[in-house]
């Protein structure tokens, strides 16, 4: 004999009991009106829950949502464009600096009769010295200020573009 509690009855309704237990439950339900009443109550709850009404969204829900989806795509494109633009600008500035240094070095270098490797090493050392000079104590604050300024301006426009895309 098993005790017909709610747990067993719920499992019986959900078909989670093995054949042996199912038979025992059936016998006990037939023998006890109180258990049968409990089972019928649970079964009716189960059946009524299956008929729960489904809520309906407002009439233009899908259309409005698709509009938001399109806007989010547009704003994503705008953000990507902005990031690419800023990165391009930075790359161009860096390229400009490197180009300037290289040109400066090439036009000021004296002709040499040394071997190719020695010439290359010497020129590399000179280039490094030039860059070191550029980022020396006197110039670092100027370069830092320029980069900070560009970063601040970019940050401001980025913030504005994100704000704009969220509003629309």
């Amino acid at each position: 004999m098993i005790e017909l509690n709610d747990d067993i009855l719920n499992k019986y309704i959900d078909g989670e009991l093995d054949n042996g237990l199912v038979q025992q439950v059936k016998i006990q339900l037939g023998a006890s009106p109180a258990n049968m009443k409990k089972y019928k109550a649970l079964l009716s709850v189960h059946n009524e829950l299956r008929k729960l009404p489904v809520e309906e969204v407002s009439s233009n829900f899908t259309a409005n949502l698709m509009l938001k989806v399109q806007r989010s795509l547009k704003s994503k494109k705008e953000q990507n464009f902005f990031i690419v633009s800023v990165l391009t600008l930075f790359s161009l500035i860096c390229l400009g600096i490197i180009g300037f240094l290289t040109a400066n070095y090439i036009f000021t270098a004296e002709p040499s009769s040394q071997g190719l490797l020695a010439q290359f090493t010497e020129r590399s050392n000179s280039l490094v010295t030039l860059i070191k000079n550029l980022f020396s104590k006197g110039n670092i604050s100027i370069i830092g200020s320029i980069f900070s300024f560009v970063l601040l301006i970019s940050g401001y426009f980025f913030y504005e573009s994100v704000k704009h895309s969220k509003q629309h």
Partner: protein
């Protein structure tokens, strides 16, 4: 397009046919709204959260690899969005589904006159609205969406057994109220 599976629709959206996402919206909007309304107890808020959930799902669609069903993945977003809305509002809620020891007393909380309620369906519907959010979500996913306990456990990030306990406790609570109010007699006698 209507005969397509969720995965086929998602593939199409990923390929750039963004308008196909509307098919997924139409498929899930009402049932997800039902779950959210039962969790948040407010239809307008539920619709807002549903919109956010669909947007989040759209933005994260590239991360959906099809390892689980789209419905499981989507309902996870919906459920978590509802929980964060509830926590924002500082409503009393059970945010961790690992805890199933939440006690609820449908009767003491009940200002709804059960004895006067003649329609059993309406009575059950009213009772479901009074369930705590996690219980309401399990009932909605199981009965409205037809999800299995295993799928629901993935959505709620808990064990299958916990889901079954929640389901059985809810049914038993309804049953007790029905017996107490002699509802069963009317239905079966």
């Amino acid at each position: 397009m209507k005969g397509l599976s969720d995965q086929e629709i998602i593939d199409s959206v990923k390929k750039g046919n963004h308008s196909d996402y509307a098919i997924l919206i139409d498929k899930y909007k009402n049932k997800a709204l039902s779950m959210l309304t039962k969790m948040l107890k407010n239809k307008m808020e539920a619709e807002e959260v549903l919109q956010d959930s669909f947007l989040k799902a759209f933005k994260g669609l590239n991360n959906f690899k099809g390892e689980s069903k789209f419905s499981t993945w989507f309902y996870k977003i919906v459920y978590n969005s509802a929980l964060s809305r509830l926590s924002t509002q500082k409503r009393k809620t059970e945010s961790e589904m690992t805890s199933i020891d939440e006690h609820f007393d449908l009767e003491s909380d009940n200002n709804y006159n059960i004895a006067e309620q003649e329609d059993l369906s309406l009575f059950i519907n009213e009772m479901v609205k009074k369930l705590p959010p996690n219980y309401a979500s399990v009932i909605s996913m199981f009965y409205l969406e037809g999800m299995s306990c295993e799928e629901i456990s993935k959505v709620l990030e808990t064990t299958e057994n916990n889901v079954k306990v929640i389901l059985h406790r809810s049914r038993s609570a309804f049953k007790d109220i029905m017996i107490k109010n002699n509802y069963i007699k009317e239905v079966y006698d």
